[in-house]
Amino acid sequence: MRYSPTLVDHFLHPRNAGLMREPDAVGEDEYAGCGDLARFFLRVREGRAAEVRFQTYGCGPTIAAASAGSELAAGRAVTDLAELGAQEIEHALEGLPEDRKHAADVVAGALRAAARDYLGRRNGDREGGAGNV
């Protein structure tokens, strides 16, 4: 098999797939030139990702990467997720073939975007609040 058993397992049984109602943050990334797309929803409690859900469109590795990404993001500090690297996703999948590295890229990108969306909103609140002080 080209793909690790872990990747295959995520593909066959994706964790945390689907929409989230009223998320605290949403982030999306698309792989340039490629149709692959991932979107993550975060529910944040005390600066941590309490709940993570995703939607994705793409080849098997992208689906698996999104599932693995949702698992490793859960419980993590949002500030931490804002700097998430693709290698961590790839590591969680026990490797990716050279021509499928974009699966990790697009998922890491979407998670970072969601985290930054949250941090941006909070900053916006604070800034807004600061104006009222």
Partner: protein, 385 residues
Amino acid sequence: MSRHVYLDHNASTPVHPEALAEMLPYFSEVYGNASSVHAFGREAREALDRGRERIAASLRVKPDEIVFTSGGTESDNFAIKGVALARGRGHVITTQIEHHAVLRAVEWLETQGFTATYLPVDSYGMLDPDEVARAIRPDTILISVMGANSEVGTVQPLAAIGAIARAHGVPFHVDAVQTFGKVPMDVVAMGIDLLSCSGHKIYGPKGIAALYVRKGTKMVAIQHGGEHERRRRAGTENVAGVVGFARAVEIRARDMAEEAVRVGALRDRLWQGIRERVPEVRLNGHPTQRLPGTANLVYRGVESESIVLGLDLKGIAVSAGSACTSGSVEPSYVLVAMGIPVEWAMGSVRHSLGRSTTAEDIDYVIESVVPLVARLRTSLPVGAA
């Protein structure tokens, strides 16, 4: 994964056991170089000549009109570059849905000062012969149209195109790699001047193919060296390959009509089974002018490669219309040329049936694909968000 179902016969096929059996002595027993004049060489030469005659007979052409090459790609390159380079300059007509072996060869000619027209096809993947007639210019030196498309199976109106080519005195090349041995062809009646056909697509070995070159067709060699193949293709001849190819061709001639009926029925069973149970699926290609064993399906909103992977994990081999290699995916250029919307075209899956395919195989594929598509769609609906 206990069950194995191979529905990728348009990619490659197993060598027919009879073809393999006939090849075997030509590896370690009859091993002479067919260019050698001694007994060992003559034995090889005889097998080569006989192979040429057998393939020529099946195409109903003369043996010295057959040139052996290493594959469909080489045959296409040879036909296109060989005719063009013999002229030095001019205009080539082809279609937007050719195999890359043709497209890239014509594109290369464009870098060498030739010009080219890539004709569109209709939503069935069919070329209108009138388009060919309109595209012909005084400097047109070649028309290259595939016999049947490998992705969607649409068979082109070769006789009509051939008549136009003949009327204008323009050589007509047909890439018949997916056609020869699958649907009836009459090279002479269709006005074909050059025809590519290949071993491994019709239960012959990989690494051997042929180009038919009608006597009198002006062309030059593109692989230079010794004086093999009447100076048209240099290189020691692959005798075992030729023998296996010849046998495979004969077997196809014998079995083709019967197989077409059997495989066509299985393909219909596949399509019926899926359309009844999967919403938003469509079948691409022409309803009647098509290869019997090819079913190209698209599932809206689902990316083909995830279906290929899902079925692969069930032991089923199909192929994605669009392949994401080296980071760049396009929807299949064939489906795009047919005007299939991109959100559909990204989800195309080709099933190509063959000799070994059974009704049980088909039912197993249907059983496997229905929940797979459902899962891919329901849990991962980006479009719906």
